[in-house]
């Protein structure tokens, strides 16, 4: 019996020849897929964060440049040049930069006004004004004393009574310590301004804004403060 066993080639036990079971293979593949998915997601999120940072830097610089360009103007021209109303632009109708602007490299939101990413806002209100007519009514202001129907136009008035918590409104803008309902577009001493940039990227809608107050601190020559 013993010698017979020695002569016959010994077969390895069935378990040792089996290799991997289907369950082991599935588990291994699952682990591999999960690991690969996590790795790809990490790569994607890194790329997304990088893009986000780049976009933020672009927006911040663009907003700062808009404010710098405002400072390059005569102080009392800033509101008229950058408000919503092109009619009061210094130099003529529509000659100013206006309240909307583009930023190269940023994609506007689908509902962006005129497809622009940037917007400048002041504490202003749209007011219906009757020009050349004989009086206004129903919340309309009247300019001009002649009789007749006149023409109703929309003007954007810089108002101390505008409500905008972000801009610190309402507040006195012309230094008379009063908050009134007059248009201060020609006599403001302080100009609250918001530069907002809204764009879209892979992560959805993004926003960046700067809120500041511009002031004219120059002293006219010969005037002792």
């Amino acid at each position: 019996m013993r010698s017979k066993d020695l002569r016959r080639p010994q077969k390895p036990p069935a378990r040792a020849r089996a290799g991997l079971t289907i369950v082991e293979v599935i588990v291994a593949l699952s682990v591999l897929v999960v690991a690969a998915t996590i790795f790809c997601q990490t790569l994607l999120s890194t790329a997304r964060v990088r893009q986000l940072n780049r976009d933020n830097a672009l927006a911040a610089d663009a907003a700062r440049v808009v404010l710098e360009r405002m400072r390059n103007r005569t102080f009392l021209e800033i509101y008229k040049a950058y408000n919503e109303d092109p009619k009061d632009d210094p130099g003529g109708n529509g000659k100013g930069p206006g309240h909307l602007f583009d930023v190269a490299g940023l994609q506007p939101l689908d509902d962006a006004p005129q497809g622009k990413v940037g917007r400048v806002t002041f504490p202003s209100l749209a007011v219906q004004v009757t020009v050349g007519g004989g009086g206004g009514s129903g919340g309309k202001m009247s300019l001009g004393g002649g009789a007749g129907a006149g023409t109703v136009v929309t003007e954007w008035h810089l108002r101390e009574d505008a409500t905008d918590e972000g801009l610190g409104m309402p507040r006195d803008l012309n230094g008379n310590n009063l908050v009134d309902t007059a248009n201060h577009s020609s006599d403001y001493l302080v100009l609250p301004v918001r530069v907002r940039i809204e764009w879209k990227n892979g992560a959805g809608a993004r926003r960046f804004e700067i809120v500041t107050q511009l002031g004219d601190f120059r002293v006219d020559e010969g005037v002792v403060p």
Partner: protein, 194 residues
């Protein structure tokens, strides 16, 4: 005998061919990834350097007086150098101005330098960057505006004046290991406060 045979020659050849194919593809992908990573790293480093340099220049000009700027090129003209004086404060009701300072591009070395009292006693010169492109990105020396910024043949550092505001344009470049050039261009505008 069959149980001890292992793989046949055909199986081994097929397996080796597949392994070779996979390794070749993997090498190509890795190489591409390495190159992309290098490009991204260089690009980010140049980005940071350009932002820092622009901030430095902007900070110097913002404290100056528009009247002290020299030269005063308006688009389509530009200058690769700007001289200015910054306000140090007020004494006896009069503003006190610094010694004349200059920021410029040395065309020979591609260096951006800051200088004070240049050519006079007490001269100081500091190199702020040395990777500036010969020409601004996408601009060729051909007398026309190639990159659509209203300037023709502008150098890697260009100043343009608009009343009290100075627009600064800057292109930095560096070469990848394989000689491919990577360029980064930045632009900003500052208004003289004094």
């Amino acid at each position: 005998m069959s149980a001890r045979a292992g793989f046949t020659v055909v199986e081994v050849v097929i397996a080796m061919a597949l392994v070779g194919l996979v390794l070749t593809k993997l090498t190509l992908v890795m190489d591409e990834a390495r190159r992309a990573h290098q490009e991204e790293s260089i690009s980010m480093a140049l980005d940071d350097q350009a932002m820092e340099l622009l901030d430095k220049i902007a900070f110097a000009i913002v404290g100056s007086s528009a009247e002290s700027l020299d030269p005063t090129p308006m688009a389509p003209f530009y200058s690769g150098t700007i001289h200015y004086q910054i306000s140090l404060g007020v004494e006896d009701g009069k503003p006190v101005w610094s010694e004349p300072e200059v920021i410029g591009l040395s065309e020979d070395s591609g260096q951006v330098y800051w200088g004070q009292n240049v050519g006079q006693a007490g001269e100081r010169i500091v190199v702020w960057a040395n990777t500036v492109s010969e020409m601004l990105e996408d601009e060729l020396l051909n007398g026309v505006d190639d990159n659509g910024n209203d300037l023709a043949d502008e150098l890697g550092l260009a100043f343009v004046l608009d009343e009290k505001a100075v627009t600064i344009r800057l292109s930095l470049e560096r070469e990848r290991d394989d000689g491919h050039k990577i360029q980064v261009t930045k632009e900003t505008t500052v208004t003289c406060r004094n």
